[in-house]
Amino acid sequence: MKYCEDYTPIEMMIISGSREIEDGQVLIVGTQWPIIATLFAKKTHAPNAMICYEGGVVLDSIPDRIPLFTGDPCITSNSVLLNDSLDTLGMILHGGHPDLAFLPAANVDKYGNINTTCFGDYSKPKYRLGGSGGACDFGSLAKRVITMLEHERQRFPERVDFITTPGYLNGGNSRQEAGLRCDTGPHAVITTLGVFRFDNNTREMYLDTYYPKGSIKEIKEGFQWDIKISDNVKVADPPTQEEIRVLREEIDPFGMYLKNNKAKAIPCL
């Protein structure tokens, strides 16, 4: 197994996300980076993972072109179930079936709350995003929520301007006190620099694993608060040459996700 040298931070984030998935799991998957991370897992170590999308899709195999979003018509012929949002967000997600949920985000705070709504005051925003689809449902209802986003300082405020998708709210028991089920909540935040998890008691985010090309110093600079570092902080394995080949040649041969990453980024002030 040869490790790759020549990989990008986005590729490392995608592969890192895919490593959270075990074979046979049921995934509810949002748009952007989660699409490619989950398809990559399905192509490599989790061929029996089932992928559910919010519009009413259960996919059991990889489409012959990469979906540009979760409503892409190319998924219709790879689906074992197509119907409506009450099938996937209702009978699958609210029904408690997914093992993991994957979400993109504009930014994420100390307790894993996600904002994909607006920057500044909601009633008079400095920048208005176009809305969050089913993201609130994913974060409210899924057992283990994994968020994927670029590691940039503006994406990690201590407190988001608007809670689109509830994480652990104010930490501690505040999530359950708001009425959310106790077996649900953020499981990991996966960035272009590392993998972050949540303390079981305080529910504060901490660095669990960082990537071989990065450093803890660089990671800390990418947060607007003083991010905690695990006592047992780990360094991730780099991608193998074969992983990078599969990702580039088989999953995204046209570079839809892998090229021109800026154009794929959710705006963030």
């Binding site: 029996n48 072109r65 219709t76 074992v80 041969p253």
Partner: protein, 318 residues
């Protein structure tokens, strides 16, 4: 993925345990008679059986003594012919007393819907003024509640979810992983079968996953929720499966006459349930001529196209 195909005998042995809450799918169509007969042969006890509406499947389970509690809206052979075992049970406690929770079809379907989605409750404008809400038995206060709406003060009936340990339905076709497809009259079945922790799919035909993927809008439950798939042609007899066989009215008429007495009911079970080891023996007993009479003339759908362009056009977004 591994195939989930087993026999109905194995499926009932492995997946249904005494005392569990069992959902039976099928609203006339899609009733799993082969599975019901196997449950009787295996002498399962103490079941709570939830079945919205149908023919005589529930009557047979009740008469055979498998059932302690029932959730239903309709147990006839069909209306206006009574289900005799049900009457003997409720009026005379034969073979033993059962408890019953009655609903209307809409409220029970909404309870299954809430169960499938695991919603805390759904509010409706039915059941108000009727005697259903105050007559609850084993569900007690949790059957339904009439409150004033927090929005406008009007009276509403809150219907909480019904969930089930095991669900069984007999469908037109499924693949070996349990992706199950149906057509025709559906009643409560989609919501009911999706409200179960464990699921057995009985199917007239096992098809390739490609057949499923060529028409994914017909799938009522995804395979990952399904524990076992049973190939059981004619498994819905004496009721019907659109496109496969019609109702065997003579059998329902025969059942009506045969089961009016307790002896007659027990003879029926001896002959048609205990007396055959599986559905194959049952259909041999029905006989080829009778089966041929039940075969439908065809009324085929036209194919529809789910196609898309395989050519990648996303370069315009790069």
């Amino acid at each position: 993925m591994d195939s989930k195909i087993i026999t109905i005998k194995e499926a009932i042995t492995d997946l249904l345990h005494d005392g569990e809450v069992l959902y039976l799918g099928g609203f006339l169509q899609h009733e799993p008679y082969a599975a019901v007969h196997e449950i009787i042969r295996q002498k399962k006890k103490g079941l709570t059986v939830s079945k919205c509406a149908g023919m005589i499947a529930l009557d047979q389970l009740i008469g055979a003594g498998c059932v302690d509690k029932v959730i239903s809206t309709y147990i006839w052979n069909p209306l206006p012919k009574p289900a005799h075992a049900l009457r003997r049970c409720i009026e005379k406690g034969i073979p033993h007393k059962i408890e019953m929770e009655e609903y209307s079809i809409l409220s029970l379907t909404l309870a299954y819907f809430a169960g499938a989605l695991d919603l805390p409750f759904v509010a409706a404008k039915t059941l108000l003024g009727s005697d259903f809400p105050q007559h609850s038995s084993f569900l007690g206060e949790n059957k339904m509640k009439i409150i004033e709406s927090p929005f406008n003060g009007e009276k509403v009936c809150l219907i909480p979810p019904l969930k089930h340990d095991l669900g069984i339905i007999h469908v037109q076709r499924a693949d070996s992983f349990g992706n199950a497809q149906t057509w025709g009259i559906m009643g409560d079945s989609k919501y009911g079968i999706n409200s179960c922790s464990k699921v057995i799919i009985c199917a007239e035909e096992i098809v390739s996953t490609e057949v499923i993927k060529r028409d994914p809008n017909r799938t009522i439950i995804p395979g990952f929720k399904v524990n076992a798939v049973v190939k059981e042609p004619w498994g819905g007899h004496p009721s019907y499966i659109s496109g496969y066989y019609d109702i065997d009215w003579r059998h329902f008429s025969f059942y009506d006459k045969a089961t009016q007495t307790l002896d007659g009911f027990e003879n029926y079970l001896r002959e048609w349930v205990y007396g055959v080891k599986d559905r194959n023996e049952y259909i041999n007993k029905i006989g080829k001529d009778k089966l041929d009479e039940l075969r439908p003339k065809s009324w085929n759908s036209n194919p529809v196209d789910y196609g898309y362009c395989s050519k990648f056009q996303g370069d315009y977004l790069l």
